[in-house]
Amino acid sequence: MVSRRRARVAVAALAVVALAALGHAEQRPQQRTMRFAERGTTLYVTTDVTNLFDKAAYDRLEDGLASTVVIRLWVYPSGKKTPVAFQLLHREVVYDLWGEIYEVAVTGPSGRRLYRVKYKAEALKLVTGLDQVAIAEVGAIPYDKHFELAIVAELNPVSAETMAEVRRWLSDGAGGGLDRGGSFFGSFVSVFVNLKVPDADRVLRLVSQPFYRKRPKR
C-alpha cells in the first residue's frame, strides 16, 4: 500500500519535472554567429533579428497599422550574469495605404532617423537589421577576456500596465458584488479556459559566439 502511494507521488513529481524541463527548453536563446568590430573607443556588432518575423507577421506589415520592434542588447562576460553594457533600439514601421509606401522610424544610440521605402522587404530589413550598432565602450571590455552578446527582440511588446488591464478579469472574482463569508480572504485559484495573452506578438532571443578583444601588438 505504502509502496503504491510512493509510486504515485514519484510519478506526479516526475510529471511536474518533465513539464518544467519542457518549459525551460522553449526559453533557451538561439546561438548566432555575429560580427564584432572595434572602431575608436566603441565596439560595434553586425547581425539581424529577421527571424522575429514569421510569414504572418511579415504579411501584417501591410495591414496599415504600426508594427513596433524593440531590441535590447546586453554584453556579458562569459559565464557571468551581470552585464557590462546595455543598448536599447526601437523601430517602427507603418504602411501608408493611400501613398503605397512604408514609413520606418529607427531610434538608437545615434538618434532617430525616418525612412520611406517602396517595398515590404526593404522595410523588414530596416526594422530588423543591426548594421554596425554600437554596443559598448571598449573601456568596459578588457583585453583577452571572453564576452557574449545577448539580444532580446520583441515584436509589438506590451507595457506592464496594459498587461495588468488585459489580465484584470482574472482577479475580478466571481462577480456579484462584495465578497463576504470568507471569500474576501480567499486565495486565488480558479479553473477556466485560460488562453494566455503574450506580452509581445513574438520574441526572439539570441546569444552570440564568445568574443574577445585582442591585445594590440607593441
Binding site: 493611400w98 514609413e103 525616418l114 495588468a164 456579484g176 462584495l178 463569508g181 480572504f185 488562453l195 532571443r205
Partner: protein, 499 residues
C-alpha cells in the same frame, strides 16, 4: 495562559520593514542603464512607446467592420473600441494599437486581429476587427475536505463571464456538507446565483445582483479544553439564511473600481436559550453565539474599492493589489443587527531578480457592534493552514497549530483579525503554450484573531491579549490553459482532520 510576546512582535515588524525595504533588483545595473530595462525575460512595452514618435498619415475612420463573433454582440465589441466612425487619427496613434488589448481585456476572446484597408475616398480607412471567441465558463472555487464536524463536504462555484454573448456575467455555486457525530448537527447545504453587468451600455457603470441561501448547522463548544476533538464537547444548532444583494459598480480606471451594494437577509436560527460552556476548571460561563433566536434580519449597505496593477495575477512577480470593503448594518433600515465591518487586503510583489520575487500580503479587518455570527472574522479567514468556510458554512472546528504556545484554539469567530505574510516566489518555468508557467513559493507570517471581549476585559496589555501565531506554507502555483492551480501545504492541512 497567554504570555507576553513583545519580542515576537518586534521580529514581525522588523521582517515587514525589511520586506518593504527590499531592493527592486538583486544586482545593480551598469552605469547609465535603467534598472527597468535589464530584465531579459520582461517586456519593453513602455520603453517602446516612450521612444516612439508619431509616423504615418492621418486618416479618417470611414467604417468599422467586425467579424468572427458568433455569440458576442457586435454592438458590445464596437462599444469597447477606443475610437468611433468619423474619428481622425494618425495610423500610429496608440488608440489603434490599444484597441486589440481593450477587446482582449474583456476576457471573451482568445484572438483579436485589427487591420486597416482603404475606404471609398482618399484618406479614409475601414477598420476590420476579426475576433475568435474563447470559452468563458470558469470554475471559480472548489471546496472539499473532511473533518469531525462534517465527515465530508463538497462544493463548487462556476460562472460564465459572457452569458449567451451578452456581456453579462452569470454565476453560481452549490455546496453540501454531511453531518458529524455532534449533538444537534445536521447535513448542511448552500446555494447562490449571481448576475452582473460589468459595463452598462458601454459606460463605466455596472450593476450586480445575487440571491443566496443556506441550510446549515453551526457547531460550538460546551465543554472540554480549547481545541479538544471530542464530539461530546461540542453541540450544534441549525439555522437557515435567505438573502438578496445588489447594487451599482463604477470603473474608476482600467485598473481600479468601486462597488456598492445593499444586502437584505432573513435568518431563522434555532439558537439554544442561554447557551453555556463548562470550562476545564469547572466554571460555567455564558457564550455568545452571535445570532438572535428565531427569525431575524440583516439589512446592510456596503462599499468596496479595488485596485490591481499586477501584470500577471496568476503568477505575480510585481505589482500591487489593494482591496477595501466597508459594510454598515443597521436597524434603521429594518435589520435586527447594528454593526460595521471594515476589511482590507494589500498584496505587493517586488521582483528581486528576473526569476524571483518577494511578496508581502496583508489582510485583516475589524467588526464593530452586534454583527451576526456569519459576518464576523473566522479563524479560517486569517490562518490559511485551516479550512476556510464553505459558502459561509462552518465545516471544521480544527484547532490551529499552536506554534507559539499562545492558547489560540479558543477563538473561532472574532471581531479583530488579520494576517501578515511574507512570500518568496521562484519562477520555475514559463512557456507560451498549455502549461504557461510554474512558481515555487515559500511563505511565512503571523496571524491573529480576537474577540472584542478578549481585548476589552483583559488582565494584560492589548498586544498580549491578541492571540498571535505563526503560519508557514510552501507549494507550487501552476498557470495552465485550463486554469490556475495552487498545490500548497497549508491548503492540504486545512482539508484533513487533525483530531
Amino acid at each position: 495562559m497567554r504570555v507576553h510576546r513583545p519580542g515576537l512582535l518586534a521580529c514581525a515588524l522588523a521582517a515587514l520593514a525589511l520586506a518593504a525595504a527590499a531592493p527592486a533588483r538583486a544586482q545593480a545595473p551598469p552605469p547609465g542603464v535603467s534598472p527597468d530595462l535589464l530584465d531579459p525575460e520582461g517586456s519593453t512595452g513602455d520603453v517602446g512607446s516612450a521612444l516612439g514618435g508619431a509616423i504615418g498619415p492621418v486618416v479618417t475612420i470611414e467604417d468599422i467592420q467586425i467579424a468572427g463573433n458568433r455569440s458576442t454582440s457586435t454592438r458590445l465589441i464596437e462599444r469597447s473600441l477606443p475610437f468611433r466612425r468619423g474619428d481622425q487619427l494618425r495610423v500610429s496613434d496608440p488608440r489603434l494599437a490599444r484597441a486589440r488589448w481593450k477587446l482582449l481585456a474583456l476576457g471573451y476572446f482568445r484572438e483579436v486581429d485589427l487591420a486597416l484597408r482603404r475606404g471609398t475616398r482618399h484618406g479614409q480607412v475601414i477598420v476590420t476587427v476579426v475576433v475568435a471567441e474563447r470559452g468563458t465558463v470558469a470554475l471559480n472555487r472548489l471546496w472539499f475536505g473532511t473533518s469531525a464536524v462534517a465527515p465530508w463536504w463538497l462544493g463548487a462555484d462556476v460562472g460564465d463571464r459572457n452569458f449567451l454573448g451578452s456581456g453579462l456575467a452569470l454565476g453560481g455555486g452549490a455546496a453540501y456538507a454531511s453531518a458529524g457525530a455532534i449533538v444537534g448537527a445536521r447535513p448542511q447545504w448552500a446555494g447562490e446565483l449571481r448576475l452582473s453587468a460589468p459595463a452598462l451600455g458601454g459606460t463605466r457603470w455596472g450593476a450586480h445582483g445575487a440571491i443566496s441561501g443556506q441550510h446549515g448547522s453551526e457547531p460550538y463548544r460546551v465543554s472540554g479544553p480549547p481545541g479538544s476533538g471530542d464530539a461530546d464537547d461540542l453541540r450544534a444548532f441549525g439555522y437557515r439564511r435567505l438573502g438578496v444583494r445588489g447594487g451599482p459598480a463604477y470603473t474608476l480606471s482600467s485598473l481600479s473600481s468601486v462597488v456598492a451594494d445593499l444586502r437584505v437577509e432573513a435568518i431563522d436560527a434555532a439558537v439554544p436559550i442561554a447557551p453555556t460552556r463548562r470550562l476545564p476548571d469547572g466554571r460555567v460561563t455564558a457564550i455568545d453565539l452571535g445570532l438572535r433566536r428565531g427569525d431575524s434580519r440583516v439589512v446592510s449597505v456596503g462599499l468596496g474599492y479595488t485596485r490591481d496593477n499586477r501584470p500577471d495575477p496568476s503568477l505575480p512577480h510585481q505589482g500591487t493589489r489593494v482591496e477595501v470593503v466597508g459594510e454598515l448594518g443597521t436597524s434603521l433600515l429594518g435589520g435586527s443587527y447594528d454593526f460595521a465591518v471594515l476589511l482590507g487586503r494589500y498584496d505587493r510583489f517586488w521582483p528581486l531578480t528576473h526569476k524571483s520575487a518577494l511578496g508581502l500580503r496583508l489582510a485583516g479587518g475589524t467588526v464593530i457592534g452586534d454583527a451576526p455570527r456569519f459576518d464576523r472574522i473566522h479563524v479560517g479567514d486569517v490562518d490559511r493552514m485551516l479550512a476556510p468556510r464553505v459558502m459561509g458554512m462552518t465545516t471544521a472546528l480544527t484547532a490551529p497549530l499552536d506554534l507559539l504556545g499562545t492558547d489560540n484554539a479558543d477563538t473561532v469567530y472574532g471581531e479583530v483579525g488579520g494576517s501578515v505574510t511574507v512570500e518568496y516566489v521562484y519562477q520555475w518555468w514559463r512557456r507560451p503554450h498549455r502549461i504557461y508557467g510554474g512558481d515555487l513559493f515559500v511563505a511565512a507570517g503571523v496571524w491573529t484573531l480576537a474577540t472584542t471581549d478578549e481585548l476589552r476585559l483583559r488582565d494584560r496589555d492589548a498586544f498580549a491579549a491578541l492571540p498571535v501565531d505563526l503560519m508557514v506554507d510552501v507549494g507550487l502555483r501552476i498557470d495552465t490553459e485550463i486554469g490556475v492551480f495552487e498545490f500548497a501545504l497549508a491548503n492540504a492541512l486545512g482539508r484533513v482532520p487533525r483530531w
